[in-house]
Amino acid sequence: MSTPVVDRPANRFIDPKVLMKIQNLELLARAVVEGFVSGLHRSPYLGFSVDFAEYRQYMPGDDLRRIDWNVYSRSDKLYIKLYEGETNTRVLILLDVSGSMNYGSGEVKKIDYARILAAVLTYFSYHQRDGVGLLTFDTEVRAHIPASRRSGQLINILKTIENVVPSQTTEFKKPLRYLAELLKRRGIIVLISDLYDEPENIIAGLKALRSKGNDIIVFHIMDDFELNFPFDEAAQFEDLETKRKMHVIPDYLRTKYLEILEDHMATIRKELAGARIDYVLMNTSKPLDLGLFTYLAARAKTQ
């Protein structure tokens, strides 16, 4: 899947640093989605995002099958029926709340970024009339709200997202196995994580979900400092998950660290592509557009 990228300057609704200032997660999600969608009306992606039905006067050349004959019978005028939104997709957001997600080199921590992304996707999907669910996990499943379109579902999910506290280490095996056993209906699964686990554990779990017909999008949340390792002073590095310490002279380690990280990411990317799972690397210093576009593109496939 090609990943559309829109580079609009000063897109203040999508910039995570600006969004961090909005305390209410629902308000935040609405601001993003409305700003984003209203922005999209000028974009070439129009067509798969709205669920609003409307009528337009028939013009020569329009498909005759799309004429609403009921309206014709009442008004004696020919109208074309545009988009009758359908809601039959279930979206489940898997949010990694392990300790490593609590890292942030700048103002935005990875967990904040993940929270915003999760909230926005939840809000967006909810208003698309999709059933939305949430599962937070680290080594275990910490919270699970099954996908639904009940009223109050949105608030429930957003509150859960708001209240997550990252701790513990990351382990994909258990939560994903749990989910594979639990999920009965296929839908869209969105995994938001920094993927600090062995690639085979991640891939195996996701492949199992994929084989059940789910569309899966993996948002790999990484901080700029994790990706580039621009440290220059020697220091004691402390692992946020295990609290283990290590004396690090960045100049000595940088090259090898970056090689190992790149290797890790390349393996994941390759395996996921093989399983036709969408993979998006999200740098927390970059705006959210990329995530939303990827999600919309994936959802379009399920229509």
Binding site: S100, M101, N102, Y103, K110, D194, Y196, D223, E226, N228, F229, P230, F231, E233, A234, A235, Q236, F237, E238, D239, L240, E241, T242, R244, K245, M246, H247, V248, I249, D251, Y252, L253, R254, T255, K256, Y257, L258, E259, I260, L261, E262, H264
Partner: protein
């Protein structure tokens, strides 16, 4: 091994800086929270070790650079252990400094010096050693440290007072080196001198004598000397007439501070008295005595100014000089006979009696080859042509040193002159600036500034060649090998010189009769045409006298010849073969008349003693010693001193140079490794 600048060793503390930085940074290393050490823990230890090794190597290199630089600046040197060290104890090691400068000729000073030195030698106990240094403006070792009294006395006996000036600094430097050989003894410095203040002209702030050296002064100086002498003389060293028209002015200095003196001053030429007068010189001041109007024979005359006085320093009562009486330069002007054609040339060369030129003007049709050969310089002033025999004769005469100036103007026949093979130019056409170039006039705007004919223009800023307006000129093309000495503003040559292979020919491409230009009316005309003729005649200025210590130039003539100098005592000093124009210098060691012979030619040079020595004003020895004695902490100079010590001494001190070289090499290695590391780091970051 000893060290010349031990204070620089404090620089070694800088070695601690890199290590301290490392330690402090290690102590203070802060805790950085990072998402996960998952990947960092997987970095192989070998890769880290390799980096640590590279950094360790860099640290070592940097420490080495500092260490070697500190070492180099501390100036270490090696000394050989001398045998005297074994006999260390109460034995004395003495260095005797004996002043044999020209001022020591005062009265009986030098005899007293020798007797004082003899007493010091006699006073030596068994096991004592003494070295002897004689100094004037240079210092030499008369005897290396030894216990042999006879050898020391023999060395003193050979010593004679010199005619050179006084310089204490070198003597002390040499004494300090001798002390290096007297390690382990009670060191003593005995200085016998008149302690002339003039001798303390130290150029270095370095102190030379160690704190462990006891200094004794044998002061032969006087607070009020009774010397009267000739300081200086101004002499017009050339004369072109039998009766000397120049002036000999002597400056007579009375060094007495309390009373004026009246002295008879006479001047003699070739040992015959030529003038005499009596002058009164106030205390501690000078008076001038002037002489002129005496007769001179042709060639060099030996002149002597003499003070008829009986003061204790007789050497400066005589002052020598030379005067060269020459015939005037014979200049032949050949013109075409047009009225007033050579008027300005005649004015230029004969307007004053004292001008060194003798001018003859003839018309081209009357000129004969014989007539041309009788002159040192020939000026061909704008004639249509010359006879072929004269042209060929001129070619030959240039080889024997004749100078020729060809002026090409409106009458020059281009066809004939272009047939003159040796002419350094080819005449193309005559240019009238207004008509042909559309400008009112041209000026001479550029010239070869270091050429002798333009020397007056370089010396005087008010004199300019460019003031003359040229309305017309002969356009010429310089031939290969010739040199364009001056150009008009459009680049056309104005003055051209023949090639080095055919020296002695100048071409001026406009007239000198005020028709084509107004040059003869400008102030630049006279100096330019004087200098051109002087240059063509290979005329050389002479100096009336030289001071002892100056290098006297000896310049080769037209042909290669052997050069030699005949000393005042009749001794001959060969200077080897001198090529044409080649220059060598000789430095006389005593005042007197020197005859310089180059092939068949000879000239006389007068050499006088340095005038400053006549001033016997004394400085207190304590002041002198205070400024040469080291303060506590300063180190001694190199210890070893042997006969071929200069080279040896230099070799011992070479160590710093090697250290600097090693520091440089370490620096290059450090830059290479550091750059490699930076490159690797950057590459790592980029990937």
């Amino acid at each position: 091994m000893n060290i010349l600048n031990p204070f620089f060793l404090f620089g070694a503390l800088a070695l601690a800086i890199p290590v301290l930085i490392h330690m402090v940074r290690r102590e203070k290393s802060e805790i950085v929270q990072f998402s996960s050490l998952m990947f960092l823990l997987r970095v192989p230890k070998a890769a880290i070790r390799q980096q640590i090794l590279k950094n360790l190597l860099l640290l070592i290199l940097r420490l080495l650079i500092i260490a070697f630089l500190v070492g180099a600046f501390a100036r270490p040197y090696f000394t050989q252990e001398t045998s005297q060290d074994a006999t260390a104890g109460e034995n004395r090691g003495t260095v005797l400094l004996i002043d044999n400068s020209y001022s020591m000729r005062y009265g009986t000073n030098f005899e007293r010096t020798k007797s004082e030195a003899g007493q010091r030698i006699d006073a030596m106990a068994a096991g004592d050693q003494m070295g002897v240094i004689a100094f004037n403006d240079k210092a030499t070792v008369l005897a290396m440290p030894t216990s042999d009294k006879n050898a020391l006395k023999a060395a003193i006996d050979t010593l004679e007072p010199s005619y050179a000036g006084t310089k204490y600094y070198e003597a002390f430097t040499l004494a300090d080196r001798l002390f290096g050989q007297l390690a382990g003894r009670q060191k003593q410095l005995v200085m016998i001198s008149d302690f002339q203040r003039n001798g303390w002209n130290r150029s270095s702030r370095e102190s030379m004598i160690g704190t462990d050296v006891a200094i004794e002064a044998v002061d032969l100086g006087l607070d009020n000397s009774t010397n009267v002498g000739i300081d200086n003389a101004a002499v017009d060293a050339m004369s072109f007439s039998r009766t000397y028209a120049g002036r000999v002015v002597a400056r007579i200095h009375n060094h007495r501070k309390d009373q004026s003196v009246t002295v008879p001053v006479s001047v003699s030429i070739n040992e015959r008295e030529a003038g005499k007068r009596t002058v009164e010189v106030p205390p501690n001041s000078t008076t001038l005595a002037e002489f002129t109007g005496f007769d001179l024979p042709l060639g060099f005359s030996k002149g002597r100014i003499r003070l008829d006085t009986q003061d204790p320093l007789p050497t400066d009562n005589d002052f020598l000089f030379t005067i060269d009486r020459r015939e005037k330069l014979s200049v032949l002007v050949i013109d075409s006979g047009r009225r007033n054609q050579s008027f300005f040339l005649r004015q230029a060369y004969t307007s004053a009696v004292e001008l060194p030129y003798q001018l003859k003007i003839i018309q081209a049709q009357n000129a004969t080859a014989q007539e041309v050969a009788n002159h040192q310089v020939v000026i061909v002033n704008d004639v249509p042509r010359l006879s072929d025999s004269i042209r060929d004769r001129m070619d030959e005469l240039r080889k024997t040193g004749q100078g020729q100036l060809i002026i090409l103007g409106d009458q020059a026949d281009a066809g004939w002159w272009n047939g003159f093979a040796k002419l350094p130019v080819r005449l193309t056409q005559k240019i009238f600036v207004g008509k042909d170039r559309g400008q009112p006039f041209y000026s001479v705007t550029s010239y070869v500034r270091n050429h002798p004919i333009f020397a007056p223009f370089e010396k005087a800023s008010t004199l300019g060649l460019n003031t003359a307006q040229f309305l017309a000129y002969a356009e010429v093309e310089p031939k290969e090998g010739s040199t364009v000495l001056a150009k008009f503003e459009n680049g056309s040559p104005a003055i051209i010189e023949s090639s080095d292979a055919d020296r002695g020919l100048l071409v001026f491409s406009s007239t000198v009769d005020n028709r084509w230009n107004d040059l003869p009316l400008k102030p630049s005309f006279l100096p330019l045409f004087h200098e051109m003729v002087t240059y063509l005649s290979r005329y050389s200025e002479v100096r009336g006298w030289y001071a002892l210590g100056e290098g006297i130039p000896v310049t080769g003539g037209l042909e290669a010849a052997a050069a030699a100098v005949i000393n005042p005592d009749g001794g001959r000093q060969a200077l080897g073969d001198l090529g044409p124009g080649q220059q060598r210098f000789f430095s006389p060691e005593a005042p007197g008349f020197y005859e310089v012979r180059i092939g068949p030619d000879s000239k006389m040079v007068a050499v006088n003693s340095p005038s400053a020595e006549g001033n016997l004003e004394r400085m207190p020895p304590d002041d002198l010693f205070a400024s040469v004695k080291r303060t506590q902490g300063e180190t001694q100079q190199a210890g070893l001193f042997t006969e071929d010590s200069a080279e040896e001494y230099a070799r011992q001190q070479m160590t710093w140079w090697y250290l600097l070289l090693i520091a440089l090499l370490a620096g290059i290695a450090e830059i290479y490794i550091a750059n490699r590391r930076t490159y690797e780091t950057k590459r790592g970051t980029a990937s």
